[in-house]
């Protein structure tokens, strides 16, 4: 759908203020960035600070912790399957390392484990690679430009972005491993965007002090994901993949260690027992929980399953009280709603504007600050741009990019977005985009140490499902990096555990029974809820009402 005539009128206002804004930008005059204390003030408009959006967890290792209602509901839900019905003595698959989740972290883990000679089984919910990693556009941070940058600054930026709450050890490992990850990916043949002499191009992201965001066109995550997936497929005997088989429960053994997982075959609807010497949990994020009804950028399977099953097994969670809303999600046209408009547009010079075509915030504040500023502009100051479906947005002035650089820059640097909007009859080299914050990233997650280990021996965690690396707020480009760094580490740790530390024991699901019992005893109204969610429920409720003979367990038939 092209812009309506009402919106076209409003775009005229943007065009009017554009020449002067371009001139200012050229002179290096930016809209003033906020001080730390100003940031603190504006953050009260951030959804994280809405008390009615959160509630207290009543069971498990983080009893008393207040996080988003949608997550608490899943933690306050019973297992999908009665643990007594699962025959743990009938093992369907046995492997050295089980990797749960075939996204970036899981695949990197599989590759590193394979290198050491162990056998790997990847169990994943959708297809291998259908994951948030595939969707990352903007880039991956690493301090590789030695004349201007170093891991010292990378560390400082990550910490400042995370409100200085990040686990310092985890950040140290993140930034120290970063250049090695870039070298690894270059060796695997990932096509990063380069200058003719081989230097990788790099840009700013929100909260970076140096341009250290490396990228592959505007499909950085896809390029990384398809490259490592292709590499994993080069070892069909060592790395086996079970698709459409999400994990629904971890299995422990009588030594207190993780002994594998129960999977659910989404197609044949049977439960499967996998026994493993070590298990890597890399199930990614949870955008599809639609916290506070926000739209999301995440893939279909991002329902936070890993959090739930590991929490039941006793792994504490961290920093889940903060959720990242990407400031720039598309709000128009409706078909593209929630879709991410990469931060690189702002990095490349596009201003953010209200209905009067005026700037109201510096474009490269950290994400939480930027998002809060948009929300305030639309909901408190009433300067949002109304959409035909009754929502509000602010302008992201993409045409500036061509003017500031040269004609053709937008099409060259953002081919994916150009085509997308072009299909809807919008030319983003001429017309600005309408954006609003969208649910994007699970800042927190399961507690790990710098080797990816958890409190459960043999259970290793990496990627978005973990918490601590980014503190209360992740910077763009540090997540793809996190996934590569801690995915690789998880694979190495798991392989070493499988070889040296693993002790066989009787498999049990007693922890699940205990958790179910604790829920029962807590007096929470369980209301028949089950978790993990596996897939969001987007089918038509009117149709469901007529499915008179169909039973649903949670969202699934």
């Amino acid at each position: 759908m092209p812009y309506t005539s009402e919106l076209k009128k409003l775009i005229k206002i943007v065009e009017k203020t554009r020449p002067e804004r371009v001139e200012r930008k050229k002179r290096g005059e930016e809209f003033p960035a906020m001080s730390l204390s100003e940031r603190e003030k504006i953050l009260k408009y951030h959804p994280d600070f809405k008390e009615e959006g959160r509630s207290e967890i009543k069971v498990g290792p983080n009893k008393g912790y207040r996080i988003a209602n949608e997550m608490v509901e899943l933690l306050h839900a019973k297992s999908r399957v009665n643990p007594d019905l699962i025959h743990l003595s009938r093992i369907d698959y046995e492997t050295d390392v089980l990797v749960i989740g075939g996204g970036g972290a899981g695949t990197a883990a599989a590759l590193m484990a394979q290198k050491t000679g162990v056998k790997v089984l990847i169990a994943t919910k959708l297809r291998h690679g259908d994951a948030n990693t595939m969707m990352a556009e903007g880039g991956i941070q690493a301090a590789t430009k030695n004349q201007k940058d170093s891991i010292y600054y990378h560390y400082l930026d990550a910490l400042g972005g995370g409100h200085f709450r990040n686990d310092p050890d985890l950040v140290e490992t993140l930034v120290t491993e970063a250049p090695k990850v870039m070298a690894w990916l270059e060796n695997l043949g990932a096509m990063f965007t380069k200058f003719e002499d081989g230097r990788m191009k790099s840009l700013h992201g929100g909260g970076t002090s140096r341009k250290r965001m490396h990228y592959a066109g505007d499909i950085t995550g896809a390029e990384i994901m398809r490259t490592i997936r292709d590499e994993a497929r080069n070892y069909p005997n060592d790395i086996k993949v079970l698709e459409f088989s999400p994990a629904v429960e971890l299995i422990l053994n009588d030594q207190g260690a993780c002994g594998g997982a129960v999977l659910y075959n989404l197609e044949t609807e049977e439960y499967i027992v996998v026994k493993a010497k070590a298990t890597v949990l890399a199930t990614g994020g949870s955008g599809r929980l639609h916290i506070q009804e926000f739209m999301t950028t995440n893939h279909y399977g991002a329902t936070g399953d890993g959090l739930i099953i590991a929490y039941r097994a006793g792994v504490p969670i961290k920093f889940l009280h903060t959720v990242q809303y990407h400031p720039t999600g598309a709000v128009f046209p409706e078909q593209a709603e929630g879709l991410l408009i990469t931060e690189k547009f702002r990095g490349a010079g596009a201003n953010v504007l209200n209905i009067d075509g005026e700037q109201f915030v510096y474009e490269r504040e950290p994400r939480d600050v930027e998002a809060a500023a948009f929300i305030r502009e639309c909901t408190v100051r009433g300067k949002g741009v109304p959409t035909p479906t009754g929502k509000f947005g602010v302008w992201l002035d993409s045409p500036m990019i061509d003017i500031l650089n040269e004609k053709g820059t937008v099409r060259r640097e953002f081919p994916g977005k150009w085509i997308l909007f072009h299909r809807y009859g919008i030319d983003i080299t001429q017309e600005p985009m309408l954006v609003y914050p969208t649910l994007h990233y699970q800042n927190g997650g399961l507690e790990i140490n710098r080797k990816g280990e958890t409190v459960v021996p043999g259970l290793i965690v990496g990627g978005e499902v973990s918490g601590g690396v980014h503190g209360e707020n992740r910077l763009m480009g540090n997540s793809l990096l996190d996934v590569m760094v801690y995915g690789r580490i998880a694979g190495e740790t798991a392989a070493a555990y499988a070889r040296k530390q693993f002790k066989d024991g009787k498999l049990t699901l007693n922890h699940v029974k205990r958790y179910n019992k604790a829920l029962q005893d807590s007096g929470i109204d369980l209301d028949g809820r089950v978790a993990p969610m596996i897939l969001p429920d987007y089918s038509n409720p009117d149709v469901r009402k007529k499915q008179l003979t169909t039973d649903y367990t949670g969202t699934l038939r």
Binding site: M135, P179, A183, E196, G217, H299, G528
Partner: protein, 260 residues
Amino acid sequence: MGNRAVKPKKTVSKSKDSSEKRVPIFIMGKKYEVPESLTIQKALEYAGFQLIRGCGCRGGICGACGTVYRFPDSYRIEVGLACQTVVEPNMYITQIPFFPANKATYDLEKLEPTGSTVMALYPEIFKCVGCGTCTRSCPMDIDVMEYISLAIRGDIAGAAELSFDCVMCGLCTARCPAEEAQYNVGILTRRLYGRHIAPRAKHVAESVENIQKKRFDKGLKTLKSMNLESLKRLYNDREIEPDMADEFWEPEDKKYIIVQ
């Protein structure tokens, strides 16, 4: 059994105003009436399907939702990604969420970036009859036939460049009379290019060496042992590379910069 979904949210039809105009579409030949502004993917859900196959990113990049369709009065087979294509009246739709394709295994390091490498791994590439069906079948508007012929001619860089936007949906493969696995050829050329043709990033190798030689250990140790107040001050005052600075910009403070 009373097992209720954890609060169903954001269901497609709820967000749809019931007054919106509906259009008929035919899902695998069967008629459904759906709101006209939906994508094929949301229309399937609106019709009552719960997607398991054929849905991944919902954002046009994972290639899970390859879809073919046709209109009653036309012989043409059209293609699209279900998550990106808006329904049109009287579409006959089917998804092709999976199509088997040959994938060669290899050790990238040992390969040469030449046409003969591609031919050795994918000998069927010779059988291409140049019919152009793949190009017409690509929802990403990639000239698939051309990247295949570039690969045959040994122009690895060209094939890599041209296939860069491939989402590996497999629609080209599904329709190829010569049974090619175009997208696997595509990624082979891209990896060959990235590994063996594109000039290496020396700065990356240097930064790895800096780390291996532990040249930053002192700086990081200082940061890690600093109290919150000083850390905040340091952060607030850190020198920021200007937006418009060029590649070779250098900061004033070089204390924690290491150039070899």
